[in-house]
Each structure stands twice: as C-alpha cells, then as structure tokens.
C-alpha cells in the first residue's frame, strides 16, 4: 500500500520475565526522518537493539520486514550488511586511530590483508566531504570534538552504504552550532534518499526535522502521526509520552516542613573530558527541613552530574558555586568533607558506585561511617555487627545474617543496605539518586516509607527519579532539569506529568 522501508510488528521482548517491549509496532516510510519519543525506560533503545540484531532473531517476539523481506539478524554485522546502521549516544570510535582508519575499521580496503592506504584516504576524503567535515583524514580522532566525531560516525555509516540510519540521542552531547549542523546534514541525507530514525528528547528538534513521530511508553506504541497533521504539536507528544499509569502506591505521610535548610547557589560544572561543555549550568535550589524535593529530568539532563559534583566534586571539572546548610556556607570539596558536613549521596548505580559486592552486609553498612565504630584506628567488630543488626531490623533487610555477601542479595535489599550505610553517617541532607531503580513493587513501597521517615525526622531529602508518578507521589516540590539548567519548579499541587515533561523537554531558546 505504501512505500515503507521498515515494518516492525508486535515486537515483544522480556528480560527474566520483565516485559521491556510489549507489542510495539512501527512503520517507517522510505526517505523520511522518523522520530521516536518516550520517557527513560520506555523501550526505545531496546527496540533499536532488536532491530539491529544486538538481540538476535528468536530472542524476541513479533516480526520485522526490511525492504519487503523478513529479517532474521543474528548480529549487528547482519543488519549492517543490509544497510541498517545505528549510531549510539556513546560514540564508538578508537581515539588513537585516524579518521580514515576509524571510518574503515572492520571494513578495510585491503588485498590479502594488506591495506591500500591511498584508496582508504581518498575514499575517506570523499565521505568527509559528504558529511561536511573539513578535516584531514589522517587526523587522529581524539583531536576532534564530540560534534565532529559524530560526523565521522555518520561518514562511517555512509561507507557501509547505509539505507536506514538510526541516531540515538544524536544532539544530547552537542553544543548549539554542532546540533544545527547535524540537523542540516540529516536534511541533506534525506534528500539523498537515506531514511533516518532519530531518537530524541528535544521536541524543538523533532518539530524542525521529523516527518513522522512515534511515541512509545511502557514498551507499547502509543501513537504515530505525521508532523504535517494539523494537530501535531509538542504538547501532543508530551501528552502521549507521559500518562504512565499511577499504579504505584505510597505510604501515608503528613508533611511537617520547617525552615529552609539546604541551599545551592549558582552551581556550575563542566564535562571532565569534553571540557568546553557545561553539564550543570547555573543551578540554584533550596530544600527545607522535613521536605522531600524531587528532581525530574530526562537521561543526560544533568541530574546525576549536579548531585555528584556537589557531593565531594565526584564528577566534573571547573566546578563553581556555593552550598549553604542551615544558613551557613559549607564546603564539599572532597567526599569525606561532604560527609562531615552532613551530606549523604546514595548513587544511581548501586553496583558500580554504591556497594562492595564481595564484602558482607555489615562491612558495607559501616563503610562510610567507620570512624564511628573505631577507637585508635581499630574497628570494634562487635559494635559493627550490632549496628548492622539494628539496620537489618529497622530497614527490614531480608537476610539470615548480616555476614551475608551483598552481591547475593536482591536489588531491593541491596538498596536498603545502601540506605543503611548513609543513614549510619548521620546526615542532615540526603540525596537519593534513583532510589527505586530495578527493584520490585513491594520493596519500592518499603523504600518510600523509609524516605518519608527520613523527612519526618526533619532531614532535607532530595530524590532524583526518572519515574514521574513516583516523584509526584513522593515529593513536596519538584525541580525540573534540562540540558544542565533548572527549567522549572513545581509545587506538589500543580505537579502533573504533563507540566513536568513540558519543562523537562524545554530546550534553550
């Protein structure tokens, strides 16, 4: 009926019984730019991995048809052979190799294993001209900025005779000029007949460039419409993106909010590698005693970067700004200084940053507050065991013994160990980054109860979360972050998923 290049029908994919995709369908017309939108965890990346063969044929349900033929890709190589190329947000270039070498990596111009350098460099130069990158093909990639590296990735895709180019958050790491250039390039590619799928949070970009938008939520296709339709608007996209069911339940709480307790003024931080890029841009916010303040933002918005740069400058460079607690300015230059000044930060990635998985529960709980258990540098292990037992009881950590290895606990119990660790340091201000990620409903409810309890003790609590219903249910007030800036402050009474998403996708003007 139509001139579709790609049909994906009723795609389902589950991980250990958890449905990541639950019947997604998508039709991409030949030669169009097709945007896919959705909240964090909606299933966009999983869908692209299914398409490109990262998840091999047979490991998911549903059918895929590309250029009129059903596909059965076993690996990325198979899909690239057909002309489907994905460019991930994290660029995959080898920094010490030249532009030309990167473009032809794994696909070298060679005879009997000997590389033809003249041909390689000549073809690379042609490809660079096509993507509008004015660089010598022999330049090592590490000398290029992120924007130019992205162009090298696209040149690499073109060298594989790409028919369907998939760009995952292509402008997330780019400055305005580079973004503008990239969008122009995508327009050019469309004119040359290359079809593009672009995953993006930036609605202004989508309005500018996309022909069609498909919105995914909770592993399902919500709707798909042409941007030329009369009622195609940013607010329509937002409406479809949010609207997650509010099926989380929250323990009852009567907020008892006191005076302003914690304040951050004009906080700035730059990316540690891409040093020109501001990841936190002049952020100022306050938290009152006994208040739960939520931070909403999409992936890459700078929520975790804000928290980590405040907590002992654990992330970023050229950090500036001031932190006040109870009206007095405090320093948080190292993690131990931040802890001493009453801050605690439970990290987003608990396995990488939060826990020593090969140590036991007691050792993990005491890890940040060991000084409290030690006299003259010697740890009182009996006291340590007692403390751990107290937290096991009060936090309801399900384990036969506090000497169980943390790596063997379930996600919910691991998170309770992380929270115990920070509660033991006796903090006044707690920053909880994605405190319920990857844990089951029952444990979530328990953790909400713990967060409420911390606020009831008069502590200032900051919760960072990707789940808007969770933030709305839990917080007294919510800040939204987009592109490193605080773009909105919403009181509980006015907080709806739509208003939040509106601020979360607010681009620079």
């Amino acid at each position: 009926m139509s001139n579709a290049i790609l049909w994906m029908r009723d795609i389902t994919k589950d991980f250990n019984g958890v449905k990541a995709l639950d019947g997604v369908s998508i039709v991409v017309e030949r030669g169009e730019v097709h945007a896919i939108c959705g909240e964090n965890g909606a299933g966009k990346s999983t869908l692209m991995k299914v398409l490109s063969g990262v998840y091999p044929h047979g490991s998911f349900g549903g059918s895929i048809e590309f250029e009129g033929h059903p596909t059965a890709y076993k690996s990325i190589n198979d899909s690239e052979h057909d002309g489907i190329v994905i460019i991930h947000q994290e660029l995959a270039l080898s920094p010490y190799l030249s532009i030309a070498e990167n473009i032809f990596l794994g696909n070298e111009n060679a005879k009997r294993g000997i590389i033809d350098w003249n041909k390689t460099n000549r073809e690379a130069a042609t490809l660079l001209a096509r993507v509008g990158l004015n660089e010598n093909p022999a330049t090592p990639v590490l000398e290029l900025g992120v924007g130019k590296q992205q162009l090298v990735e696209i040149a690499k895709a073109l060298s594989k005779r790409v028919k369907l180019l998939i760009l995952d958050e292509p402008t997330a790491a780019l400055n305005d000029d580079d973004s503008e250039h990239l969008l122009t390039l995508i327009n050019h590619l469309r004119e040359q007949g290359i079809t593009c799928i672009i995953i993006s949070h930036k609605l202004k970009e989508i309005r500018k460039i996309a022909d069609t938008v498909t919105i995914i939520r909770d592993g399902k296709t919500i709707e798909s419409f042409s941007m030329k339709e009369d009622d195609a608007s940013e607010s329509r996209i937002i409406r479809s993106m949010v609207g997650r069911p509010l099926d989380n339940q929250f323990p009852p709480r009567t907020p008892d909010i006191g005076e302003e307790y914690f304040r951050v003024e004009n906080w700035n931080a730059y990316h540690p590698v891409d040093t020109e890029r501001k990841v936190v841009d002049d952020a100022s916010f306050t938290v009152r005693a006994g208040e739960i303040v939520g931070f909403a933002g999409l992936m890459g918005a700078g929520r975790t970067e804000l928290a980590m740069s405040i907590f002992g400058r654990s992330y970023g460079i050229n950090i500036s700004g001031r932190v006040f607690k109870a009206g007095k300015e405090i320093q948080t230059r190292t993690v131990s200084e931040a802890i001493q000044n009453g801050l605690a930060y439970a990290t987003e990635d608990r396995k990488k940053y939060g826990l020593n998985l090969i140590a036991d529960i007691a050792e993990n709980i005491s890890a940040a507050g060991l000084d409290k258990l030690a006299k003259g540098g010697v740890v009182d292990r009996n006291k340590e065991t007692k403390v751990a037992e107290e937290y096991r009881a009060s936090m309801n950590i399900k384990t036969p013994s506090v000497s169980a290895i943390v790596g063997k606990l379930s996600g919910g119990n691991q998170q309770k160990v992380v929270l115990s660790k920070w509660m033991f340091t006796g903090p006044d201000v707690l920053i909880l980054d994605e405190p319920t990620r990857g844990i089951d409903v029952g444990a979530k409810y328990e953790i909400y109860g713990i967060i409420n309890e911390l606020a009831a003790q008069g502590k200032a609590v900051i919760v960072i979360s990707s789940e808007l219903p969770e933030l709305i249910g839990l917080s007294d007030r919510i800040y939204t972050i987009s592109e490193g800036r605080i773009t909105g402050e919403v009181a509980k009474a006015e907080a709806t998923q739509e208003t939040l998403m509106h601020y979360m996708t607010a681009g620079r003007d």
Binding site: T334, A359, G442, A443
Partner: protein, 406 residues
C-alpha cells in the same frame, strides 16, 4: 495525586540469600590451601624417605624462606588493593648494601644498621607510593622502574664487590637462634623451644574458644564444635611436632619469632583496623570506596610505605643470613612473593586475600624447593615445576569461583 493510598502492595520478593557466614567462608578457602600444603609435605616426606622433615631441614626451611614470607606479608596488602610491586627484590639488595656499609665502612653498631635499613625501606616505599597514589602511574610501571633503579643503585654502592665480615649480632637475625635460657632436657633438647611451642598451642586454643564465645554471644553462625576441636588438635600436634624437631637441632630460630609477630600483627591490621578495612574496600570496589569517603590516595601511599619497610626488613634478614652484601642479592624475590600471595588465595582483581594464606602459599613454594633439592632435581626443572604449581593454583581458584557463580 494518589499518594494517599494506604494499602501496602503484596509481599516483597526479597530472596533469602544462601547461608554464608564471613568466618566460615574465609576459613574454607584457607583450608584448601592448608590441605594442599599438607599433601605436598606428605608427598615429599615419602619421596625423600623421611629426609624432608629432619630437624636440620625444618630449620633451614624456616630460615631460607623467611625473607620471602616477610615480603609476601607486605605483598598481599598491595595485591588486595589491586596493585603489584615488582621492585622488592631490588630493594632487598639495596637495603642489604646500605646496612652492610653502615656497619663495615661507617662503623655503626648493628642495631643502628637495622634502623637505617628500615628507614631506607620506608623512604623507598614513600617514593613509589608518591608516584602511584598522587601522580596516578600504574604500580606495575612505577615498581618496574624501581626494580631497575634500586638494582642500579646497589651496584653503584657496592661497586661490583661484596661486603662480608658482618658482626655476629647482625647475622644472628637471619641465621641465629634464641639462646637456651632454660637449659636442656630430654636428651639435650632445648627447653625454651618446647615451652614456646606449648605457649603457642595454648594461645591458639584460647583464641578459638574466645572466638566461639563471642559468636555465641552475638548469635552469629559458628562452625560445628567438632570441627573446632579437630582443627585445634591438628594445629597443636603440628606446633608441638615443629617445636620437638627444632628443640633437637639448634633451638628456636630468631627469625621464627619475628615471623610469628608479623603474621599476628598484620592479620590484626587487615581484619580489625580502619586501614585494613579501607584496603579491602578499595580492592572490592574502588568507586564505591571513593564515594564512601575513603581517602584512597593516602591509603595507597601508606600501602607502599609499608611494603617498603617490610622489604627493608627482608633485606636485613637476607643479608644477615648470607653474612654478606652482594649486588645480586634478592633476585626474583618479588616473583616468589607474588606467587606466594596468589597461591595463598588472593584474587587477581583485588579485594580478596589474607596474610595467613600468603604465608601458607610461601611455605608451599618453600617445601617444593626443598623437597626437589633433596631429590636432586635439576634447578631448571625446579623452576618449571614451581611455575606450573602457580598456574594450577590460580586456575583452581578461578574455576572454583566461576562454579560458585560469583
């Protein structure tokens, strides 16, 4: 919104973890190595027609391996923290040269030479620790450079020659015995050695009983009483057999006492001190340790200073045992120490390892050496066999870990 809902969701599905008491886990690991040591001893005892465990050989086993054991104690801390130290062999030679010079050329007393040796070791450790901890150069590179630098400095100091004729008090550290204060009994046996054996046995048994009592008080899992009794009996028999053999030879080697003190001290430091905790935390997950406020740079620095001091001590012992300082001293000691640590169950990725394990690992290598020498196996073959043992020990550990799903 819906935050007023009060009904709790269905029962959480937090899975109960498998029983795994900390004490039990580590002990099981060490029993494996201990069993390997026992098997090797029995094997060579049979192959050598009982010559392996003759009093003189036991005495030599202790004195010959003491410096590697001292190095292994420092090395296990380095390896738990995720580093390596390739320079200790050269440090042994350099420190030995400085100690010998200070006595023979500068006329200092033996105790001053020992102090200087330890200080030189500490300074070397601080030098390497600075590069590793504060500049961020991988320890492999820093200590590879150190291996060359300190060997070279030794050659400069000794100008290619040998310094011999060291004072008796000094050589006694490596090759002497504690004087028989308590006289002799039972066919000329040294009473002091037997008394020390009894004290050590009693100390071990008391410690076992106290551990059980504490665990009972805190209601933590304990190993079955039978297993404690069997363990105690075996150890007491082993200690007393050792004391009996040594008492019939020349008595208690001074170095055995030094070793015993080091083993107890460092076991305590690793298990009970904040420093030890931070070492394990860094090795287990460096990021998590940093985000918990561990001052990782200073811990790394301290680890290398400590390694330097112990290398200095090993230099003193090795020079004392040899009775002279030569530029080629301590060659390949770093490899023996590293091998001992890994045979003793330390993990290549860091985070796991014990002092006792490293010492047992060192003894495995020592017994192999001695047994093969008694059997007159060619030195070239000895080396090949030791290499194979190291490979198998680590392979066994890794396969075991994979099977237990970690």
């Amino acid at each position: 919104m819906s935050n007023t809902a009060t009904e709790a969701p269905s029962e959480p599905t937090g899975k109960a973890p498998v029983k795994s008491a900390r004490k039990l886990r580590i002990d099981l690991r060490q029993y494996g190595i201990l069993a390997a040591l026992a098997i090797i001893i029995v094997l060579f005892q049979i192959l050598t027609n009982g010559r392996l465990l003759m009093p003189g050989n036991i005495n030599n086993l202790i004195q010959q391996n003491s410096y590697v054991l001292i190095l292994a104690i420092g090395m296990v801390i380095v390896i738990i923290a995720g580093h390596i130290d390739l320079s200790v062999g050269s440090v042994v030679a350099l420190v030995g040269a400085v100690a010998a010079l200070s006595m023979n050329s500068w006329g200092l007393p033996w105790w001053a030479a020992v102090i200087i040796a330890l200080v030189v070791g500490a300074v070397i450790g601080a030098w390497q620790g600075f590069w590793v901890a504060f500049v961020g150069i991988p320890a492999f590179i820093v200590t590879l450079a150190g291996m060359l630098i300190f060997r070279g400095l030794t050659l400069v100091l000794l100008t290619g020659g040998t310094i011999s004729g060291l004072p008796d008090e000094f050589t006694a550290i490596g090759a002497g015995w504690i004087p028989p204060f308590l006289g002799e009994a039972l066919d000329g046996r040294d009473v002091l050695t037997l008394v020390l054996g009894l004290l050590a046995s009693a100390g071990f048994v008391i410690q076992q009983i106290r551990t059980r009592a504490t665990l009972r008080k805190l209601d933590l899992p304990r190993e079955p009483a039978v297993s404690t009794i069997v363990k105690s009996v075996i150890l007491v028999v082993a200690i007393m057999a050792l004391a009996w053999q040594l008492s019939g030879y020349s008595g208690t080697p001074i170095i055995l006492i030094i070793l015993a003190v080091l083993i107890l001290l460092y076991t305590f430091i690793l298990n009970r001190s904040v420093f030890g905790r931070h070492v394990y935390a860094m090795g287990g997950n460096l990021f998590a340790a940093q985000m918990s406020g561990v001052k990782t740079k200073w811990i790394n620095f301290a680890i290398f200073v400590n390694m330097g001091v112990l290398a200095g001590l090993a230099g003193v012992v090795a020079t004392a045992r040899a009775g002279s300082a030569v530029a080629s001293a301590g060659q390949n000691y770093e490899l023996d120490a590293i091998a001992a640590v890994f045979i003793g169950g330390a993990a290549v990725q860091g985070g796991v390892g014990t002092v006792v394990g490293a010492v047992i690992g060192g003894l495995v290598m020592g017994v192999l050496n001695m047994g093969l020498s008694i059997l007159s196996v060619d030195a070239a073959w000895q080396q090949a066999i030791k290499g194979l043992v190291l490979l198998l020990a680590v392979a066994f550990d890794i396969i075991n870990k994979r099977r237990s799903g970690r």
